[in-house]
């Protein structure tokens, strides 16, 4: 099997890696780059736990071949906090107890950040539709919606 050399950008940093042609971007992030924030839930694009941004688009990293990342700009959950300062979404999820087991949380945070960049003042319905591809089996979603709304409010005021 021929390996592929890939040069890409992750959270603003230039990164190079070697991968197999069939390797997913999620597997490379977790297993080769040590970025274990993105989780594998279903591995088939249904649960959203592996959400990242690829050239500014929210995608499931389990449905991207690592080889496709050549020259791309990747954003992961590890890029949300700046040093020790949590992103307003991260702080709001803590304040509102919008997580229990936490497996879905990185994907939801990355997805919610992508939403607020496009729509800083979404309705609850818009948040629910945007996050329809992020499954959570613990919280029942209401706290998640409240946390996103609270973060959006603080970000608008900032």
């Amino acid at each position: 099997m021929k390996t592929i050399h890939v040069a890409t950008t992750v959270n603003g940093d230039a990164v190079e890696f070697i991968c197999a042609p069939e390797e997913s971007l999620l597997d490379v992030l977790r297993n080769r780059l040590g970025l274990t924030g993105a989780k594998e839930g279903c591995g088939s694009g249904d649960c959203g736990a592996c959400s990242i941004t690829l050239d500014g688009r929210l995608v499931c990293s389990c449905l991207v071949l690592a080889a496709e990342a050549e020259g791309a700009e990747i954003g992961t959950i590890e890029g949300l906090a700046i040093g020790d300062a949590l992103h307003p979404l991260q702080q709001a999820f803590i304040d509102h107890a919008a997580l229990q087991c936490g497996i879905c949380t990185p994907g939801i945070l990355v997805a919610a950040k992508a939403l607020l960049e496009r729509n800083p003042d979404p309705t609850d319905t818009e948040i629910r539709y945007w996050l329809a591809g992020n499954l959570c089996r613990c919280t029942g979603y209401d706290k998640i919606i409240r946390a996103v709304q609270d973060a959006a409010k603080k970000m608008r005021a900032a």
Binding site: K2, G45, D46, L58, C60, E68, G133
Partner: protein, 287 residues
């Protein structure tokens, strides 16, 4: 498995044609990577078409738009021009999957996956969309209607790829719409669906119509008698009833866990009726 990212359609077609083993085209990957993961396909070659010039572009052409085969649903949904011209087509494409899936999934991929329930296909057929296909011997045009042959089967020969889909110019006083039934509002596969494209005269009478059903037959179905039921009418109750009956008569669905034959047959007519009313209003008709 080898991964190739050719920069021209001709190179892509040659690579696919020359591969003695199993070859697959990669655009958005939202079907292909799921199939890889499930072990349904073990390709010897994957040809990523996203680096071919123009494949990620939406280009005005002859009053319509040419949509590159690697344009994502999200990109299409953000395009005000396409939304204004063929809102039903955009509705169909943007119903597919989640926000994450929309970030990658393509209209051409949805067509080439060959699912009878493909959400983008009925409205494309109603719009009279034409796919441009590149092959080892050059390019050809093919109406979207003629591409699906059955579940998982399409009318592309070895080495052929769709490189774009042309949404034609729309006559004045025209409108289209797409509706599907799913048990839940998001992240589901259509149990039955309907697309309608209409053109009206200046008195609000239908002068041209295309009515298309999805998920109720092995392929998308263009229902000529349903269109005929609307011609010359202002979508009066009798015309809509005739439309629904013609649609139900055109169904040959399967029974499965998502819907029975009887349910799909009835709902296809109901959806066509509702989609016709939306298309009529979008065309400027009042009723």
């Amino acid at each position: 498995m080898r991964y190739a990212k050719p920069e021209t359609a001709t190179d892509a077609a040659r690579l696919l044609a020359a591969e003695p083993g199993v070859a697959r085209v990669l655009a958005g990957g939202t079907d292909l990577l799921v199939q890889l993961k499930a072990g349904l396909v073990e390709p010897d070659l994957i040809v990523d078409i996203k680096h071919i010039a123009g494949l990620r572009d939406i280009t005005p052409e002859a009053g319509g738009f040419r949509i590159g085969a690697a344009v994502s649903g999200a990109q299409l949904g953000e395009h005000a021009g396409v939304r204004a011209l063929w809102p039903g087509v955009v509705e169909g494409v943007t119903l597919i999957g989640s926000t994450q899936v929309q970030g990658r999934a393509t209209m051409a991929g949805n067509l080439c996956n060959g699912s009878p329930a493909a959400d983008s296909v009925p409205a494309l057929v109603a719009a009279g969309a034409v796919a441009q296909i590149a092959g080892p011997d050059g390019a050809r045009d093919c109406p979207v209607l003629e591409i699906p042959l059955g579940p998982g089967r399409i009318a592309l020969a070895k080495g052929e790829i769709i490189i774009s889909i042309l949404l034609p110019a729309r006559p004045a006083r025209s409108g289209d719409a797409y509706l599907r039934f799913t048990p839940r509002s998001e992240m589901d596969i259509g149990v039955a669906s309907a697309a309608v494209a209409l053109t009206l005269d200046d008195g609000g009478r239908v002068v041209a119509a295309r009515v298309v059903l999805g998920a109720v037959a092995p392929t998308v179905r263009l229902v000529a008698p349903a269109a005929e039921a609307l011609i010359g009418t202002r979508l009066e109750d009798g015309a809509l009833a005739a439309l629904a009956a013609a649609c139900s008569a055109a169904c040959s669905p399967i029974d499965d866990k998502r819907g029975t034959i009887a349910f799909r047959t009835e709902v296809a007519g109901v959806l066509a009726r509702r989609a016709a009313v939306i298309a009529y209003h979008r065309a400027g008709g009042r009723k």
